[in-house]
Symmetry: C3
Subunit: 468 residues, 3 copies
């Protein structure tokens, strides 16, 4: 019995499937490069065992618990932590049973593929999860988790991860990264500079955060110039720990390119709390351009994750806080939004700006045409709800003809579900080989080219995009 068919996600037509198999065979064992994600550096610093199957698979993974919530299962029954002081289930086995009873909901979703892949390849589970075998599988995984071979570092090595980037606040002291570096363990875990808390005037505690940025760097962050200088120092600090990229999560992709004196005035309004909503937005927009300018100087890649309406349910936000599956995409413009930044630095040949989108309509209309002409732009892979087989197909079909593959950045797993990393990269490799096999089958490219492209999509492009 097995959960994973060797031909999964390949085209049904036998001739094309054979091509996909051949391409996949050549890239399937390539090391994993994960240049953007949300794993905790603490896991690798402390190397403590993961607690139990429910807290490994269900409780922290919004892909999973949101689906159960959508069918009426209360979050508290699933052990999702509360911020309002109320109770939430602590019964790991009961949480697991709920997951198992509802596992059919994931039919046809990427989550199903990720979980099955982790079950079989990480924990040796080869039965499909059901209400009936829930306890048995729980026990099997729970037992493995007590084994040292299932601690974070051992799994990291077993997963053949060549590099894993975490995402870290600008004020983070990177203690865990320091610990990892000093531990003698060979795993390459690097931070990413994510300065939302000191760049977004509407972020909780923005003014104090900016002050703290000053204290950390010895710069006078009460002034625009000092504030910029402080960013430069923090970026350099992150680079010491191997960071090669920054990351920015904004509601829109708006950028601005204002004259320095206007920037100063805007900054002052923001730190003094007198900025209007539009001014705050303009400040965030301006800061993307400033970050891009610093990237030209220090070589860090700039990632823009735009378009998520965060915390859509006020009720869930009040009870459970952020990142609980209630972030919903909205229509997002790039053609006008990115123009100021591109006017400033878009023709820089050595800059890499990576836009991500949750609005697939921009693939062919805006992002591919932009990336297909501006040297500074490289397209991020399908993100979040689109980190899926169909999502990847649409991305390639809708960007490939205008931007080609060489203006794209390879794959990002972008996950906080550590055990899903091999599964996600495997799905991406299979999807890429599927797509390439169709181009070979209808003679748009030669098989020799497809092999080169598969290698590029697996590792070449991500290394280039993130300067690895």
């Amino acid at each position: 019995m097995t959960l994973l068919h060797p031909d999964r996600l390949f085209p049904a037509e036998p001739g094309t499937r054979a091509i996909a198999r051949e391409l996949y065979e050549a890239v399937k064992d390539a090391p994993i490069i994960s240049p953007h994600g949300h794993c905790e550096p603490k896991w690798f610093a402390e190397n403590a065992p993961f607690p139990d199957p429910a807290r490994l698979f269900v409780v922290p993974d919004h892909y999973i618990f949101r689906m159960l919530v959508s069918q009426g299962v209360p979050m508290t029954d699933l052990g999702v932590p509360r911020v309002d002081g109320g109770e939430t289930s602590q019964d790991a086995r009961r949480i697991w049973r709920l997951f198992a009873e509802h596992y059919h909901l994931f039919r046809g979703t990427p989550t199903r593929m990720w979980v099955d892949h982790a079950f079989e390849t990480v924990f040796g589970v080869t039965e499909r999860l059901t209400a009936d075998n829930a306890d048995r599988i729980y026990d099997q995984i729970a037992e493995r988790l007590t084994d040292d071979d299932y601690r974070p570092r051992a799994l990291f090595d077993r997963f053949n991860i060549q590099l894993l980037a975490t995402t870290d606040g600008a004020l983070d002291d990177l203690t865990h990264h320091k610990t990892i570096r000093e531990s003698g363990w060979g795993g390459n875990v690097v931070p990413t500079y994510r300065p939302d808390a000191v760049m977004d005037p509407e972020y909780e505690g923005f003014a104090e955060n900016v002050e703290q940025l000053g204290r950390l760097t010895g710069e006078d962050t009460a002034t625009w110039d000092g504030y910029l200088a402080a960013h430069r120092k923090r970026r350099a600090y992150f680079q010491e720990f191997g960071a090669t990229a920054t990351d920015h999560g904004h509601l829109t992709a708006r950028t601005e390119n204002l004259p320095p004196d206007q920037c100063g005035v805007l900054f002052e309004k923001c730190v003094s709390g007198r900025a209007t909503a539009d001014e705050a937005d303009a400040f965030r927009a301006q800061m993307l351009t400033e970050m891009a300018r610093m990237s030209v100087e220090d070589g860090m890649t700039l990632q823009i994750h735009a378009g998520s309406v965060r915390n859509h349910s006020a009720d869930v936000m009040a009870k459970h806080g952020r990142d609980k599956g209630f972030d919903i995409p909205q229509r997002t413009d790039y053609v006008h939004a990115l123009r100021p930044l591109l006017d400033a630095v878009g023709m820089e040949p050595n800059l890499t700006v990576i836009p991500f989108t949750l609005d697939e309509t921009v693939y062919s209309r805006e992002l591919a045409p932009l990336a297909g002409v501006y040297p500074a732009l490289t397209l991020g892979p399908p993100w979040w709800f689109y980190d899926s087989f169909e999502g990847m197909m649409r991305f390639r079909e809708q960007t490939g003809e205008t931007a080609g593959i060489y203006n794209t950045a390879g794959f990002n797993d972008d996950t906080r579900a550590f055990c899903s990393i091999p599964a996600r990269h495997d799905v991406a490799r299979r999807a890429d080989c599927h797509w390439l096999s169709t181009l070979v089958a209808d003679h748009r490219i030669g098989k020799d080219e497809a092999h080169e492209m598969a290698a590029a999509l697996t590792n070449g492009l991500v290394k280039k995009a993130y300067n690895l």
Copy 2:
């Protein structure tokens, strides 16, 4: 000779086709459940014969006559009724010939499949309609229509319809439904509460409609509370006749969740004719939330059909009135529009709100993410222009990975073309089996799962969504 190939709409690749066939075989004969549509209850109350082929197929079906109009055939030549007192063709045979001469226009459209299906399965016509055989086919259908076996109730039974919901104004006395119930005939025809005329301040005669609502219910509909109470009574009245759902046709999906006192003020402005366009819109928006609250109380499913710009041609509207094929979709937002309603009742586990859309871009970006987390939301099937093979494929491919199938509501035929009902359900079943067969073929799901999913898509989900 035959019009219908047994493998139509199945994948071309033989292995996948075999899977599709097997899945379809198990669901093809399941009874039809039609929880939303526009058949006339009068047909089943009176059970009079349908008049003639042209008045059955062409004159009342905007899918058909709009295509001929697009190629320059005047509506009056097609017998489309006029509201301006002018003449329109009464010559059924001449209308039919026009239809036959232009039948090639429908190549590749769902209409072609529906008509061929009705021709062959209902009327035994097995030749493709052409100018040459137009008269012969006309005669064949006309002759059958004189037969008692072709009256509405007989066809209803022959079509194996388990339930058919009509759409009825809030002020409708449901006489025909009463007649059906009292007739002793076993057909299950139920009404749907569609209160646009008493909920939309811009509806013709709104104020008088609201007064009439008061008279019908004995409530004081001059007050906000009385108005709401009147809705409650009418909903209960509809439920007596088997209604399990309400339906709302709005230009946008806007909802509001205003405090009661503001609602009262808004209501007063609307009934007194002093509301601005935006206030009228806010009132409609607020009423969706009120309807949802009542649904929590009385268990009725709430359907929102949003995004159609009605009566696009002023000229056609003046000559022929509403529903004449000149309703054109517009870009529609759901993520912001539904938020107030979802804040109010989105986490209710026993409420079912079904959004429909004419803007396919929201499938993956907004609707699937929303339905994949809010317990109260269930996605309506592809609507109107998307009630088609390609439309259904896009719907599954673009919602299935985020919402799965279990947050969708099965199929709606939404038609006023009675004879097309079996055809439309057959297309939906074939499309679902096609889609499922591709997931089996590339090993995303097992065949056992596909069988369960096919059954759910055919009947299980629609029963759940409409409390049947």
Copy 3:
């Protein structure tokens, strides 16, 4: 060795591929009708040899040089002309080598297919271009270009072009067209009336252009009526040279239908330079409706190319000017935008208005529903970034079920790359046959119908749409 596989772009499934082959076989040799494009009439008037491989393939083709620019190759290294007086490479061989070194960037793009097709069918090159064979291929093409058989007229004949429309300013005296007509050469090259310079108040030199329009026609273009009369005369002048269409490139698809007195006031503001941005936009919008009214009179087809944000990079615009690959699509509305024009003339059975779009989201949502009911509307083929295999598939899949094929206008190559014309038409024919073969394979249409549709898509529809 060969670059072109006979089955390229056909479905992989053998049964479906056989159908596609059969359909293609019947249309592949049909003459080319090119009713919209940007070839220079001068080429055919003077019939001078094309200069060299780089200036034929690379320098004038923004599809090609933009891809190299996107990877950091400076425009000046590619010989792209400058408007700022700076230097640009004049070394054709060096430009060619750059092209060859970067040829892998085009893998999977339509450009790759076009270039390979031109290489093999026009120049007998059967090796894939690489850095290694760059010089050899350069020499081979360069040598051919010195041959009289490779002059524009000879190629025109060899390409089997039945009609080629150029695009010409309203003030153009059509000298080259006159020369062609008087030359005795049989090639049918006709102009298209493109009056942007005298219709867009924001066009450089608009007021003077309008004056010149007056001088050319003897009309008093200081008045609204005289201005309209002047357009009528110029249209008639263009028709003398075979023109059957006008063309309009606007940022949006906005139309207006204002009363004549308001038009007069608006016109006066525009020519006197006192129009606001919105008034200028309203004027352009009104003029589309005026052009449509003139089309009802004189039978010319009206083409609207909307939605391109031109010259996105201010820097590139300053250095290199217009049409340098920096035109990026934006979200575009048609349902509201076209309504005034359609209210005025949409029901005219003999008018043909052809909208083109760079926003694929409107295919199924707006354009197909509009074209599927208004007699005056016919959909233009996939444009620019969508003149590609995947783009064509999406167009058919997303418009075919609502508008059918008979409300579409066949293929446009819309190119200034003369040698790519046969390639582009070949891709379109293959894509159409691919699409039709899938409809035959799943029994949506019969093979006899597919043959008729393939012929219509190849030549029938374009002749009808452009009155040829």
